[in-house]
Amino acid sequence: MKEKDAYVDYENHQMVMYVEKDDGTYGMMKTGSYMAKNYFDDFLEKQRTWDSQNFNRLVKGEYSPVAYYMAVLQMTPADVASRMRLRTATVRKHMDPRRFGAMTVELARRYAELFGVALADLFHVPEPGHARQAFEKTHNPYVIIMRGGKGEK
């Protein structure tokens, strides 16, 4: 691929490609991502649809918070079980809203850490499209300080 054909002007997602330079040698170039520039809108549209579907299942009681975040991150029970060092059957149990409540707070904290959310976010889920409330972690693993501003969506 020639350098002039490969270059994409897109600052938001930069990457390195190997291309043919004008003198016929092959070398690296920094460029924007063609995929991101042209297809990111489609990806976001799909994300919004799935976020809405997953949230509706959560509030209807079809998903437990564990199942909800697994769906958001597209993680399978086997993958979560491996990362949490639990049996897959145990993870499936926690995906069931009727059995989610039986887990310990410590296990819930570990799930929250896996999903990259605060423990409180297992029980206080922002609506899709709304930013999480900003928070600050403390030295207490079970306690966060909620801040007045907005965090990440």
Binding site: M1, A6, H13, Q14, M15, V16, M17, Y18, V19, E20, T25, Y26, G27, M28, K30, S33, Y34, M35, A36, N38, Y39, D42, F43, L44, K46, Q47, T49, W50, L73, Q74, M75, T76, P77, A78, D79, S82, R83, M84, R85, T88, E113, L114, G116, K137, E152, K153
Partner: protein
């Protein structure tokens, strides 16, 4: 920035240690080019992998160039973090393996659980690690907590606190035998592994399986997403373009110059052209995915394109192997 995290990190560390070597040379000498079609209960959908197993680049480059890496895993997170701090205090930048999810300098939509990401830690300031990530355009800061979480994530290919840096590096290594060994390795991996979803067989397997992907999900958007992930995997997930084929072409051109071999220069041009045709597949999957044009005719067309790549690469690597035998 570099094309790929493992080869880019290793090339950066070796250059810092005084060995002038390019990322394509690191990639090619270690025999990094490959193909695999993977399906597992731990994956939400089948996926393709166009390079060798994570960790192999470091192992092979060390063996072939006589590099002594200090390389350790640490069972206890406290020990792993202390070792990283000690290494930095001695003035050594070090590579660590992390779960990409915890590298919070990436935007949230780009953060996925992927355990085989490599970053170079170049310092520590006010409790945060200063990190050079091949996929991030600027130097980043990672909190101690996030670094600990990333280095000690569970699951497959778990990092286990892996830390490495070059302890000694030959400044004029024997490149010629290393290049030939790397090429032979790549040819063997692409042609000779008797497993149906690996190497050239893996590309053919993918070509056969992709037509049945609609049976794996009822959700058209999800199918579209998975088809478009083919494009992302080939172009955007740190390959240097065309599923590492462009970087391998660059390696072959450098190899041709080092070895004085016009036949390898010709092969480098062929590999660049093969890469161009993989890029056509990437553009095709992006287009049909966005248009939700995922019926049997379109997937058959994709399957035919993949089968053609398999035939092309089988022929290519067979001839390449004869050249370096």
């Amino acid at each position: 920035m570099a094309a790929h995290c493992e080869s880019g990190t290793i090339a950066a560390l070796l250059n810092h240690a005084g060995l002038v070597i390019s990322e394509p040379m690191v990639f090619g000498v270690s025999g990094g080019i490959f193909f695999a079609y993977l399906k597992s209960k731990k994956l939400s959908f089948p996926m393709i992998v166009p390079r060798s197993r994570p960790g192999q680049i470091r192992v092979n480059i060390a063996k072939r160039l006589g590099i002594d890496f200090m390389c350790r895993t640490f069972r206890r997170p406290d020990d792993g973090m202390a070792a990283l701090d000690a290494t930095l205090a001695q003035g050594h930048p070090a590579a660590v393996q992390v779960d990409m999810f915890y590298m919070d300098y990436f935007p949230s939509y780009a953060r996925v659980h992927f355990n085989a990401h490599f970053v170079t830690v170049i310092g520590k300031e006010n409790g945060a690690y200063i990190v050079s990530d091949c996929y991030h355009p600027a130097i980043a800061r990672v909190s101690e907590e996030a670094m600990r979480q990333g280095r000690y994530a569970g699951g497959d290919l778990a990092p286990k606190g892996l830390l490495f840096y070059p302890r000694s590096v030959p400044l004029s290594p024997e490149l010629k035998p290393a290049i030939l060994k790397g090429i032979k390795d790549a040819c063997f991996n692409m042609l000779r592994i008797p497993v149906p979803f690996l190497g050239v067989k893996g590309i053919r397997y993918f070509a056969r399986k992709v037509v049945d992907w609609p049976k794996l999900t009822d959700d058209v958007d999800f199918l579209s997403h998975q088809i478009m992930l083919i494009s992302v995997t080939l172009e955007d997930r740190g390959t240097g373009g065309a599923g590492f084929r462009f970087m391998y072409a660059t390696f072959l051109q450098e190899a041709a110059k080092t070895l004085g071999r016009a036949d390898l220069e010709k092969m480098s041009k062929e590999m660049m052209a093969i890469g161009d045709r993989w890029r056509e597949i990437a553009l095709f999957t992006a287009r049909i995915g966005k248009n939700r044009d995922l019926g049997p005719a379109r997937l058959s067309e994709l399957s035919a394109m993949l089968a053609a790549r398999a035939n092309e690469e089988e022929d290519f690597f067979k001839r390449l192997y004869v050249m370096v035998k």
